[in-house]
Symmetry: C2
Subunit: 345 residues, 2 copies
Amino acid sequence: MPGQVTLAQVAAAAGVSLATASRALNGSTGRTVGAPLAARVLAAARELGYSVNAYAQAMARGATTTVGLVVHDIADPYAAAIASGVIAAAAERGLIVTVASTLSDPAIEIRHIQALLQQRATAVILAGSRFADPQVTATTTELLASVAAAGGHIASIGQDMVGVNTLAIANRDGAAHLARTLHSLGYRNFAVLAGPEQLLTSEERLAGFRDGLAGCGVELAAENIIGAQATRDGGYVAMAELLDRGLDAECVFAVNDVMAVGAMAALREQGHHVPGDVALAGFDDIAMLRDIEPPLTTVRVPLADIGRAAVDLAMGTEPSAAPVVRTVPTEVVVRASTPGRPAEE
Amino acid sequence: MPGQVTLAQVAAAAGVSLATASRALNGSTGRTVGAPLAARVLAAARELGYSVNAYAQAMARGATTTVGLVVHDIADPYAAAIASGVIAAAAERGLIVTVASTLSDPAIEIRHIQALLQQRATAVILAGSRFADPQVTATTTELLASVAAAGGHIASIGQDMVGVNTLAIANRDGAAHLARTLHSLGYRNFAVLAGPEQLLTSEERLAGFRDGLAGCGVELAAENIIGAQATRDGGYVAMAELLDRGLDAECVFAVNDVMAVGAMAALREQGHHVPGDVALAGFDDIAMLRDIEPPLTTVRVPLADIGRAAVDLAMGTEPSAAPVVRTVPTEVVVRASTPGRPAEE
DNA sequence: CTGTTAGCGCCTTCAC
DNA sequence: GTGAAGGCGCTAACAG
């Protein structure tokens, strides 16, 4: 960092010691500086265009001001919404946030957490689903333990993970509730657009949906469950495949909204009407839902709030403390994509 | 950072000097380490769970591995798309990216750039529109000069700014082209949903649109230009106001897609059809456009590519070098929201 | 209230 | 090929 003025130069210019300059510019532990001197230091700093070196500062203080956020894909509205909450909450605490996209690749996720560890991030927030791979989980757990050992605060969004604070989204309950709601609307034949099997979030929602239906005496046929990428395009592909097979369902549940949106596109392209020909429901209640036609029935997850809460949860607990698990409730929102149909008991 | 193992400990455990350990773990300037020793060091490091302290490393090396991205609002699809490109390109270079949202507040933007300066970011990327405020521009320019002086690479996305590399989006040309295209489709009466006057991007697009129309002999009435926040809700509000006034236009141009989407919602709510009652066009071609009805005519801006290009541009030039300005071409995409109407010459 | 002196953890000329 | 020593910029005890 050539040509960068240092505290020492400011101190010299102001004719004071390093310590005094430091205290004048970044008031340290209680100690205060005489007004005249402080003024001189400030003037000198302004004159020379001084700017603290955050790295040096962090080093000496033993704590950084960075929180690391790991998401699947920042371009996904789900992740973007969470990120916006995280960034806002962090900003309020004077923290900077680095965001990394894993593109759903466990290896990349691990690499990112490693980087965060090296950066000695004050907090690391894991958003998005965990992977159902013991190998990956073990590595992740170990890495997070190191982060905690280094004094880093941690919070995971999604599902309960051994050993770290988590904001658990009520995926099962939400999906079950949705299933019951759809059943009460008269639907009896369902299909599910699921994500990859390793994605816990998807699995939980699928399981919850199945349970919910079972509670109503409806069984979810295995051939009516189709897996794909948990993305908009994944939803499109899955729906297209379902149609190819000759869809045998009056209502389709996509485990997240972006998949539902993709499914809607596939339906539209093949000339099927929602909800006339097929009813459709998603999960998350991402912002863009209010702008698509028809409005999509879904399960609301307060994404931005969750982002904020994750920062609060992480920063509000000691890294060494026992992990706290908080469950975020979800709420079924019925919209025009599932108007209901006369029950045929 | 308590309980964190240091290079010194690893060196001790391996029975070698600090220098050797350093070289073995992060191969420095050409120097190499004997295989047996290297193995011992690596083993010791793994044993103790060693992880470099990136801050200390950066400090000693004199260069960080962080690129700072400043956007208006990461929850906006426009920003999210750019961010995804930036993050991807940065990851390829082994760089970490911190993202900050300004929420269109110049003061916050300045604070963020300051923070990036303090972090001695390797690169800072300014996405989104600059503000037409000389005061703000001066401060920003000064700050960026400091960043450059500290060895930081810089790139700005949007419009040409004095003194920094920029990826200029062809806002004027794109809007003018769109205007001509719409004219050729038979539209003669236009209204524009603009952003705040200080937003250069909005001003440029508005000016381009006006010029384009003028070139076709059509004048854009001042009362048909309405300003609002450059957000989805801003578009909604602006459109609602336009309708209140008793809309007198056959085609509405929103200076960006999110505003157009908001406008569409307002139209729909009040029972107006697009394009039956009013034609509508936007700018940017954000991803979600393919999922709304009707498909929106717009001007395509390759957002993710721009994000990648911004990183390349910043990192590919010397901080001290003369700023390079590269203009990103745009392309008009006609869709169903502007089917055209018989010209009445 | 102010100045002095150690480090923070690591890399990098230098000698060997 | 390996080790010893200085320094990156700043803060935090300690004295005065």
